[in-house]
Symmetry: C2
Subunit: 204 residues, 2 copies
């Protein structure tokens, strides 16, 4: 990175990129604001002008990571109109991609995943916003599907997300290596799918 850039021209994007690099090098526990400042060739006061603490910095990086790596690909799936009239199939594909993205990062980018797991426990607001986004996606899919007529699709969407938490919530990452995880997901999904079709039937 350019060591001569002045603080006036330091953008949030540059700080976030440098923080990611520092996290991958030192891990979440050992990364300090000073390490990030060093990498950018600025004083730590320059970073504090944008992020008031290490906690805020980790929140900023996590919010950006969730947006780019989880929400962006899922938005494409939520907006895909080709699943219409296939019952629960669109919902299933969405949940499967959500789970695949989480597993991928837990395995291949452990330090950033660790940051996300920590922020999930400590920063309720960031995660509430993220979960709201996932619920909105699932709710849109439910409303696109001619087959479903729910009075409150957001409530149903939340229940789907929570009933599959074991397979995508970062606190369960240590269980994802299990050889039976895919068979277990298939059974939980079968239960949810039958539940959705039956909930729906009774409203018609």
């Amino acid at each position: 990175m350019d060591k001569d850039k002045t603080s006036e021209f330091l953008t949030k994007e540059q700080i976030i990129a440098a923080t990611q690099e520092t996290l991958r090098r030192f891990g979440v526990g050992k990364t300090s604001v000073t390490d990030v400042a060093k990498l950018l060739g600025v004083s730590h006061g320059t970073i504090y002008r944008h992020y008031k603490s290490k906690k805020e910095l980790l929140e900023g990086v996590t919010a950006q990571w969730l947006e780019d790596e989880i929400i962006a690909p899922l938005t494409a799936i939520a907006k895909d109109q080709s699943y219409n009239s296939e019952g629960t199939r669109h919902l299933k594909v969405y949940i499967e991609v959500l789970i695949a993205r989480k597993r991928h990062y837990a395995e291949s980018d452990a330090e950033l995943f660790e940051m996300y797991a920590r922020v999930t426990q400590e920063s309720a607001d960031i995660i509430a916003k993220h979960v709201k986004h996932l619920v909105r996606h699932l709710s849109e899919i439910i409303q696109q599907e001619n087959h479903f007529q729910f009075n409150n699709p957001d409530v149903v969407a939340t229940a789907i997300l929570q009933a599959t938490a074991r397979f995508h919530h970062p606190a369960h990452a240590y269980e994802w290596q299990s050889p039976t995880i895919d068979a277990e997901l298939a059974q939980v999904w079968l239960l949810i799918e039958k539940g959705l079709l039956h909930l729906e039937q009774e409203r018609e």
Copy 2:
């Protein structure tokens, strides 16, 4: 405690009781085998004769705690014959009591709950045994109920337990204080309940 008892007469039960007392006093992170030995008035070698490490000691205490505080009350519920022919009601009561016990200990005995949460992440065997016990209970309830005719009740029992993980798995304890947690559980349960009734219908 009697400071003069010799190591020959030190039972596992005494060590477990002393460890619980030490954990409540110092917390999981700061408790050492030496602290437990001190409380019992013996050398730490005496403890090591029963438990080879702090990890094994925590596992022993957790296994006993799960047995006494979670499995014992749930066994009484699983064996209760009075729910027959009430469909999913027996399963619902079982899951509600499981959730209530976990929440109770997360709130009222935080240090022992923290020990259990830690062992859950680090000692797969202890927890696998515990989960197997819960699955056996749920499977027994399914088989007692005349209404259900599943080919593999253990698989259905596992799916019920996993779909409700957010409400009883210790990694989610930080979410249990949420004012919407009970409404969310009710919606997840509704989905599971409809799923169970519909899964079952198709087999008949």
